[in-house]
């Protein structure tokens, strides 16, 4: 079960961060890479609602991904599916992944945890592997050590 977790502490109240995750303007402003503006950002942030983003890359190509909202709990939690329909990561064109955003209020604002999980093998593995975030953090430290050794 391939999965990655990132944690960011953001000095803003949860409602602001949640809005950046769930509005077209918000998404368009940060999701597209390389400081190029998104070409399309469509966000219907309710369970079953659609997500669509299309953006250019520096090589002149365009990439488009579609998703569906699976859980929407403002301003705490957002879960969506993700699949490339154009460009993107070639080896993932046939796959659906899952992106989870968890917002935890902290003194300075929000601790945002993003987990991107590959669903290629077995969707039930998600549940099976819950608690994976901690192990992943430890794992990446282990991997960093291993990478230096090579």
């Amino acid at each position: 079960m391939t999965s990655i977790t990132l944690v960011r502490r953001i000095a803003a109240r949860p409602s602001i961060v949640f809005e950046a995750l769930t509005t077209a303007d918000g998404v368009a402003a940060w999701w597209a890479p390389d400081d190029l503006p998104a070409l399309v950002a469509e966000v219907d942030a309710r369970v079953g609602g659609a997500f669509r983003i299309r953006f250019p890359s520096l090589d002149g190509d365009e990439h488009e991904a579609l998703g569906e909202y699976l859980e929407v709990v403002p301003p705490r939690r957002l879960v969506m599916s993700w699949r490339w329909v154009h460009g993107g990561v070639a080896e993932e064109l046939d796959g659906v992944s899952r992106i989870e955003f968890e917002l935890r209020p902290i003194d300075i604002g929000v601790e945002l945890t993003v987990t991107h999980t590959d669903l290629r093998n077995d969707a039930s593995a998600i549940i099976h592997e819950s608690g994976w975030a901690d192990s992943l953090a430890r794992l990446s430290r282990l991997l960093e050590g291993a990478a230096e050794r090579i």
Binding site: R8, R13, G26, W30, V89, H116, N121, S135, L142, A146
Partner: protein, 120 residues
């Protein structure tokens, strides 16, 4: 399904267990280790350790080789490298995206605070 991906899934699920990560961490510090040396610090029994070694070996994370009467266990770093590369690729996408998200939210927060602040 993509072959490399299946291999990678096997690596990640092998790494999902704390005992197996501990085994890898020990091999990182000191290798080769015999199976009994590897098993020594664990409270679990030798057959259980052997099972973990089977999983790690099937995932391509370790190699076992016989020298005389002992089996030497070594790390096989190529697969770990692949897993690290996979993580790095996602990190390359997500890390700057979250930086932009944070910058955007923090600017909004500052703006809002200014408008909420009592007139000076």
């Amino acid at each position: 399904m993509n072959y490399q991906h299946r291999e990678l899934d096997r690596v990640f699920s092998a790494l999902g267990d704390p005992t197996r990560r501990e085994i890898l961490a020990r091999l990182e510090r000191e290798e080769p280790l015999s199976i009994s040396a590897l098993a020594a610090p664990f409270t679990i029994k030798l057959p259980a350790v052997m099972k973990h070694l089977d999983v790690l070996s099937a995932a391509g994370l370790i190699t076992r080789s016989k020298t005389g009467r002992t089996v030497d266990v070594r790390l096989s770093p190529a697969r770990l490298r692949e897993a690290a590369d996979w993580l790095a690729r996602y990190e390359r996408f997500w890390s700057p995206a979250l930086d932009r998200l944070a910058a955007q939210a923090e600017a909004k927060e500052a703006e809002l605070r200014q408008s909420e602040a009592p007139n000076e």
